[in-house]
Symmetry: none
DNA sequence: ATTATTGATTATCCTTGACCTTCATTATAG
DNA sequence: CTATAATGAAGGTCAAGGATAATCAATAAT
């Protein structure tokens, strides 16, 4: 049985695509049984494949009537220009460059003003921590900032 | 008998929506009887669903002519909302608590799914840095996480 | 070395029921 | 008449038990 994880991943993915809904609900136990695996295998698939970084949110309830719900947030068809987020941001980015990039993205309606605000706050917090709490160099901080920025933007733009 | 708690939750919610009033009054015993359950089930629903976190307050009176009243909290100005956020997040918050809070905020339409996604990514990045790069304790990471979360949410409440 | 699989253990949610507390009304004592 | 005690009518607490899901460490596969 090669690649159980991918099979389960594909199954969930297909569920999300077939139904028009932006989310699917599952019974962990049932799904595990239908794939002939242990229930915790489902958690592995979710943790490794359906992450916020990839544009998914996962909600769940334990106990009686428990469930797992997977939501797809990101666009199916990302803007062509955003395919190059990695190139644009690069491995290191300054506050000012990040600031300017976010402004451009908002002007192009790829992100909203509120989304931009959250991102700016997160970047600022990261920089502040790096400086005050961990005494990191400018370059190191800019590297971390680039990583954080890419993750946030990718989650919105890429599938 | 699928999900008694959710049925009762929905019933109360509908009551609040149908009437224009910002509150509803109930008789615990009667409500329990109409759902064919034990009275303390009502307390469970109130405790787990109609919390301040979710924007509700519950008042009650025992003895003869007793009652339970559920109020929906309305925020006058952004500052009130901010204080509310600060109280709920506190000085330290776990991944799971943060996750849950964001889900609730989205359900209350205080944030969008995309905004929630960005915030989840930022929190995960913060936690990951704290753990892998700086070897911080769980508590320290939760403290940083609370600070970051509050800042992001505050920025939105004012927007 | 990284990713995937498993299973034992732990945590959480829902439901129920026995027992506790509080309040209003009524009965009784002075 | 008043003050207090008894009664009945709410609602509150808590702990147990069953139903799920999450976590984590060990092991296997790639």
């Amino acid at each position: 049985m090669p690649n159980l994880t991918r099979a389960i991943e594909k199954y969930i993915h297909d569920l999300l695509e077939s139904g028009e809904a932006a989310s699917v609900s599952l019974r962990r136990k049932e799904l595990a049984e239908s794939f002939g695996c242990v229930p915790s295998q489902i958690n592995y698939v979710l943790r490794s494949r359906f992450t916020p970084e990839r544009g998914f949110l996962v909600e769940s309830q334990r106990g009686g009537h428990g469930y797992i719900r997977i939501l797809r947030i990101a666009f199916e068809d990302p803007e062509e220009k955003m395919n190059h987020i990695d190139d644009i941001v690069g491995d290191s980015i300054s506050d000012q460059e990040a600031h300017r990039l976010l402004q451009i993205l908002q002007e192009r309606d790829l992100i909203t003003a509120r989304e931009r605000l959250i991102i700016e706050v997160a970047l600022r917090h990261s920089d502040e921590m790096g400086q005050s709490d961990f005494d990191l160099s400018q370059h190191k901080r800019n590297t971390i900032q680039a990583e954080l920025l890419k993750r946030m933007l990718r989650s919105l733009m890429l599938a």
